[in-house]
Amino acid sequence: MNEKVMQKRKWQATLFFILIIAVTYLSAFITNFNLMEGLTAFPQAIGWIFANLLITQESLEKLPTILEKLTETIFMSIAATTTAAVVSLFLGIMGSKTTSINGVLSVAARFIASVSRNIPVVAWALILLLSFGQNSVTGYLALFVGTVGFLTRAFIESIDEASHSSVEALTATGATYVHIVNKAVIPQSLPQIISWILFMIETNIRSATLVGILTGTGIGYTFDMYYKSMNYNAVALVTFSIVIAVIVIELLSNYIRKVIL
């Protein structure tokens, strides 16, 4: 009996691999993608990158402007994340099964989270661009909306996981709802919540670049400007500074996580 099951599993695995290969070929065929052509173009592309994307003395002169835009972007991401976190915490408490007040609010919270999460940040940026125009408020709002969706979902999970039993105990002591949320739910899920906020700040700095290109603000705009004026050396410098910033933020948040958990 067991042997048969094992054999069947092996067959299933083989079949699965064949299927994947077939699908790959099919999609390559439909989209006219040629692997060999792609590979042969590779050395040339690398060559171009090394020839043009070099940080030169000349581009370094632009560093102060770039750094200024970069800090602006970082602070906008942080502001968007923290303000979104406040809204998400409220929605998360409403949406979580252990702490929800009533069904209507719970469904509403989950619905808001789902809608804002399932539309990508870039799409939000484009939609908001139409109504708010090309300014930093648009970028902020795009990040804000996307973050609310993601964080609400994450907070619901954290709250559900962390605090069911203590909520029961505090209810049994005659504590009020506000007591329970403040003294049991939040203290217990706080490390998780902070961890998610840090994660979202990192993600948002990355997305902010893309959103900036679309909405014409922050480091994204700088990138776009140099790119369109074919100043590739400056583009390289912008990219490099973004990478450094993201790595520094990531190291910082990893350190904070280690301390609080």
């Binding site: 605090s163 105990a169 505090l170 049994a172 002591t173 504590a175 009020t176 403040n182 049991a184 490390p191």
Partner: protein, 254 residues
């Protein structure tokens, strides 16, 4: 005068299964009563009906001459303040300190604002330390609860129930997750709640021997019905078989 009267209590979570059927019993003030029965007999549900952690489907519960099932928000809160509860998994807030967890028991007496700001007066704090001292875990007062052993955490749970100044303490399988040594310590403490402080105790238990040793009275529950109710010396092997069903009993003795 009975402190607690359970009259024809019935509870069903859905239309098909009735967890409790026509349960009747009284508990006098100062009694130590154990409820025994197999898993799924409705012990936990019965306990949670008393402080309305689950709603009551049929019948009525009188606690201190109040009809529990009809209490509105504010009175329900008052009722829960009078009834302490101890849980199998302790149900503390693990990241908070022992003393904070003990003081959680006072929330029933606090307004929302007082509770949120954590305003506890000196008497309450002194009482919390006194209880920790009595339970032998005073030196752990400023430790986080997740650093304590199971037996110590359960003692924090007991302190949290006692600081409520309850008239009744409900214990839901208080020793089911503990080793024999810690179990004995916990049961001794629970017993002294009744004998020294005069607080009534209603304890769900799995172990018949423990119930026999500590209780004034035992109630046997099987499939949501009371099949035995009497002083512990009346609980003969024959009666135990009726509560658990013969097969279970054989399993234990093997």
């Amino acid at each position: 005068m009975a402190l607690l009267q359970v009259i024809e209590l019935g509870k069903s979570y859905n239309t098909e299964t009735r967890v409790l059927k026509g349960v009747n019993f009284d508990v006098k003030a100062g009694e130590f009563v154990s409820i025994i029965g197999p898993s799924g007999a409705g012990k936990s549900t019965l306990l949670r009906c008393i402080n309305r952690m689950v709603s009551i489907s049929e019948g009525s519960i009188l606690f201190d001459n109040q009809e529990v099932s009809r209490l509105k928000k504010k009175d329900l809160r008052k009722l829960r303040t009078d009834i302490g509860m101890v849980f199998q998994h302790y149900n503390l807030v693990p990241r908070l300190t022992v003393i904070e967890n003990v003081l959680h028991g006072r929330f029933g007496y606090k307004s929302t604002l007082q509770g949120v700001l954590g305003r506890f007066n000196e008497d309450e704090k002194a009482r919390a330390f006194y209880l920790l001292h009595k339970l032998g875990i005073e030196e752990h007062a400023y430790k986080r609860c997740d650093q304590l052993s199971g037996g110590q955490q359960q003692r924090v749970g007991i302190a949290r129930a006692l600081i409520q100044d309850p008239k009744l303490v409900l214990c839901d399988e208080p020793i089911a997750s503990l080793d024999p040594n810690s179990s004995k310590i916990i049961m001794d403490h629970l017993k002294s709640i009744t004998s020294e402080l005069g607080i009534t105790c209603l304890v769900n238990l799995h172990q018949v021997e423990v119930a026999h040793q500590y209780s004034d009275r035992i109630i046997g529950l099987n499939e949501g019905e009371v099949v035995f109710d009497g002083p512990n010396h009346q609980l003969t092997d024959d009666k135990i078989n009726r509560i658990y069903g013969t097969q279970t009993r054989e399993l234990i003795t093997v």
